[in-house]
């Protein structure tokens, strides 16, 4: 494809000696289908122009045609590194719109899976960043632990990757003692690996020199550019929705918000590593204190699909099931609009839902953190070398499926 003048921005005659390098969309170091048009002066990056949309699949349009329970399968495919976190975010938004109050048990289960998803996402993010800067062992350590989290999710809901675990007003299945046991084992064994990972990279000279003072983002810029999550926190923005707008059961747990001041790639790596420790603390506290009681909201409220036992054996269950699945019935939704956000691993993942009273959202806008973070890229890379491109990309953790939706 030929490049238009606007894409490469070579309007200055004096810059004729600059090289234009097309990085992606098929490039092993981009990990996903990202395309960046780099303007190079030797090895120094003068300018970078991200081109996105290669993975655009119309998720928001689909959201206007799938009902509130069906759409959760699409959210799996947004940030596919941590699908559970997207499931939780989507149904959190739906329940805000519908005004459903979850049971304490469901809140705890969702908190556990959201935090496990955060660990899994951060493992991939720091692992891939290590891989791109030459630390292959580190990447394998991280990936092995991700497998263990996949095993937990498989025991919990049957799917490893695209979980679709949450439902309006509850979850697909209740948590079982076997899952709790697997989570306990993970919580007790993961710190050893996390310690090893820290010892591998935190003071590794090659890694530190490739990431310190690279891609610096200042605090004011981070706020002005709508950054959220670990990227904003690495620049000194003390914003974490788990603390600032507590949702689910986060109010009940003792954990810290991890921040750094430097705002460079190393700080972003460091914040993610520190957040894994905090997430582990939350999982440990939550899984030991899951309240007894029902996991889904009551059948009488006509807000959640009843279990098959209830459908086959009670008249209320049968009625509720039919009320919810019949095309001319369904959820009782107010004609309103609401925005609600959760602290996903990558940052603020929010959904702006507009409803016209039917089963299907009238508009389901997703506020993807990767989209806003990728917009930073030209600013972060300007003046650095070509080899820093992968370090900065890795530290931003851009997931193209979420970026393009």
């Amino acid at each position: 494809m030929s490049l238009t003048a606007a894409e490469v921005r070579t309007d200055d005659q004096e810059q004729d000696y600059l090289w234009t390098l097309n990085f992606g969309p098929q490039h092993p170091a981009t990990h996903t289908t990202l395309r960046i048009i780099l303007k190079l002066d030797g090895e120094r990056v003068v300018d970078a122009g991200p081109e996105i949309g290669y993975l655009h699949s119309g998720f928001e349009k689909l959201g206007e045609h799938l009902d509130f329970n069906q759409y959760v399968t699409v959210t799996d495919r947004m940030n596919y590194i941590s699908p559970m976190a997207n499931n939780v975010a989507w149904h959190h938004a739906v329940e805000t719109l519908l005004g459903i109050e979850l049971t304490p048990r469901c809140n705890y289960i969702r908190t556990v899976i959201a935090e496990l998803a955060r660990i899994s996402d951060h493992l991939l993010s720091v692992g891939a960043m290590g891989l791109d800067t030459g630390a292959f062992t580190f990447f394998l350590y991280a990936f092995y632990q991700r497998e263990l989290i996949y095993n937990i999710f498989e025991t919990l809901c049957g799917a490893r990757f695209t979980n679709s675990y949450t439902r309006v007003g509850g979850v697909m299945h209740d948590i079982t003692p076997l899952t709790v046991e697997k989570i306990r084992t993970f919580v007790s064994e993961f710190p050893k690996t996390l310690n090893d990972m820290e010892r591998l990279l935190n003071r590794n000279r090659i890694f530190v020199e490739r990431t310190k003072d690279v891609g610096v983002l200042h605090r004011d810029d981070a706020i002005n550019l709508s950054c959220s999550g670990p990227i904003a926190r690495a620049s000194g923005v003390t914003r974490d929705l788990r603390k600032d707008e507590p949702y689910l059961a986060y109010d009940d747990f003792d954990f810290q918000v991890c921040c750094a001041q430097a705002g460079d790639c190393f700080a972003r790596y460091y914040v993610r590593m520190a957040e894994m420790w905090e997430s582990l603390k939350i999982v440990e506290q939550a899984v030991e204190n899951i309240p007894a009681g029902p996991v889904n909201v009551g059948v009488d409220e006509r807000a959640t699909l009843p279990s098959k036992d209830q459908v086959y054996q009670t008249i209320e269950g049968t009625i509720t099931h039919f009320e919810l699945v019949m095309a001319n019935r369904g959820f009782q939704v107010p004609c309103e609009e609401a925005y609600s956000a959760t602290e996903a691993p990558n940052g603020e993942l929010g959904f702006y839902l507009v409803s016209d009273g039917s089963n299907v959202a009238y508009r389901a806008r997703c506020r993807p953190p990767s989209f806003l973070h990728f917009a930073l890229f030209p600013q972060l890379i300007r003046g650095h070398t070509l080899s820093d491109v992968v370090a900065v990309l890795g530290s931003l953790n851009i997931i193209a499926a979420e970026l393009d939706r």
Binding site: I52, G53, I223, L225, P334, G350, D356, R365, A375
Partner: protein, 165 residues
């Protein structure tokens, strides 16, 4: 509470605001002419330093709706943790609003996406091109008169031979 003070102050500064509230989320609907001044006041005087999202809703088939498009600005404050939604209602043919990129740089790609998906132009935007769809795409697919299937699909694109591109 700080947010109610902000809303009271806005009401005295900008006369005809429509206020609403749903599940504790406060919304301000402002006319197109006052929109930029209101957002500027929110940023400068009321500490709404973060633009969380810019999006749009097409109310074409919405029951009882009188306006075609509702542009939505979601603001947040990192100091007070308050959130505020600012809505601007638009109708054809006046689908141009001032860009908020001078206030929040983060609005750059968000506004490009709204232009791409809804065809709303932003005056003063530094680089208003399509962002997710290819440049030769002609429609704005998140409008309600654009079908889910059948248009703009792959087989409708022209086939280029090697060397033509």
């Amino acid at each position: 509470m700080a947010l109610t003070d902000t809303i009271t102050a806005l009401q005295s500064d900008f006369g005809d605001l429509v206020l609403s509230e749903f599940r504790g989320q406060h919304r301000v609907t402002v006319c197109r002419a006052q929109m930029y001044d209101l957002l500027q006041a929110l940023k400068v005087q009321h500490a709404f330093d973060m633009l969380v999202d810019v999006t749009c809703v097409d109310y074409l088939h919405y029951r009882g709706a009188t306006d075609r498009f509702g542009l939505v600005y979601l603001l947040a404050s990192t100091s007070t943790n308050a959130r505020l939604t600012v809505r601007v209602l638009l109708n054809e043919p006046e689908l141009t609003v001032p860009s908020v990129t001078p206030l929040w740089e983060g609005g750059n790609w968000l506004e490009r996406e709204v232009w791409d998906m809804f065809g709303i132009r932003f005056d003063g935007h530094p680089d208003l091109r399509r962002i997710l769809l290819p440049d030769e795409f002609t429609a704005h697919p998140l409008r309600k008169d654009y079908p889910l299937q059948g248009r703009g699909e792959r087989h409708n694109f022209p086939v280029l031979a090697r060397g033509d591109a």
